[in-house]
Amino acid sequence: MDQIKTRTTTSATGGPTTWRLGYLRVCEKEARKLLNDSQYEHVLYLFDDLARSDDPRRSETQDVRAIEDFYELRDKGGILGKINLRVYFAVFDNVRVILALSCHKKENEGKTPGYIKAKVRNRMRYAKELLSQEYGGR
């Protein structure tokens, strides 16, 4: 793959990112199936941006909406072409982690289907367990 630029991740003040950014492997698999390399990297930039913010739930630069106790990052057009993208993520304040849980292409502007919410809820429960093991029950 032809690559021309190296991306560094720093906060608005030049220091390290405010939040640790991660994703579930299954989410990456979904994203890779849906997006090409440029589009995938674009989405990483969007999440980088959230990781720099004080509160990723209320971003000035990203379209973030709350769904139950997780969140949805929306983007469309530009490098994404006709893809109307939805990435579901969770914010774990206790360990300062933002975790991408699921990636979808929105087919219409309706509400998030129940089965997708159930899937994200389930992944969130699982992620909580993993983080609890990693951070020693914090």
Partner: protein, 165 residues
């Protein structure tokens, strides 16, 4: 009618006693797994199972729902967490070119409008540091960011990024 009966008999005979034993074992394992789910997971399991049985109108949805059921029953199969470490990411050339283009256009239009980055930040609500990174081609902007900048500069989003035209 005779043909149909024969087909039915053949289908019946296609399963050996071993197949039935395996199926029974699989069912027992599955029932055991369902019984061990937390209340929340069990509720989600029932909700998606109901959706599968009553409201599944496409192959894509069927696959999505069955995958969700599998994940609920066996969450470990969703894999672990991967953290995005800094400084080790590279930008594919298409995206890099687009970022440079948007950055160049933004700077050109902003200076033509006689605005500093700080003034554009105040007008658009986009942090100055973010505008700075965009102009340097160090960030790939979201649609929301481009909309806010375009509105503040009284231009179209397409003037900043032709991909939106």
């Amino acid at each position: 009618m005779q043909v149909k009966d024969k087909q039915s008999t053949d289908a019946h005979n296609a399963f050996s006693p071993q197949d039935y034993s395996r199926a029974q074992l699989a069912m027992a394992t599955l029932m055991d797994r369902i019984a061990s789910l937390s209340q929340e997971a069990a509720n989600d399991f029932l909700a998606v199972a109901k959706e599968l049985l009553t409201n599944c109108d496409s192959k894509e949805k069927f696959e999505e729902i069955t995958e969700t059921i599998r994940e609920i029953l066996f969450p470990g199969e969703t894999g672990g967490i991967v953290y995005v470490e800094s400084e080790e990411h590279t930008t594919p050339s298409n995206l890099g070119k687009m970022m440079n283009h948007v950055g160049g256009e933004l700077k050109k239009i902003r200076t033509r409008a006689g605005l500093t980055q700080e003034q554009l930040s105040q007008k658009s609500g986009i942090p100055q540091s973010h505008i700075c990174r965009l102009e340097k081609g160090q960030h790939s902007p979201s649609h929301k960011t481009l909309q806010r900048l375009a509105q503040a500069l009284r231009i179209t989003v397409g003037e900043l990024n032709p991909c939106y035209e």
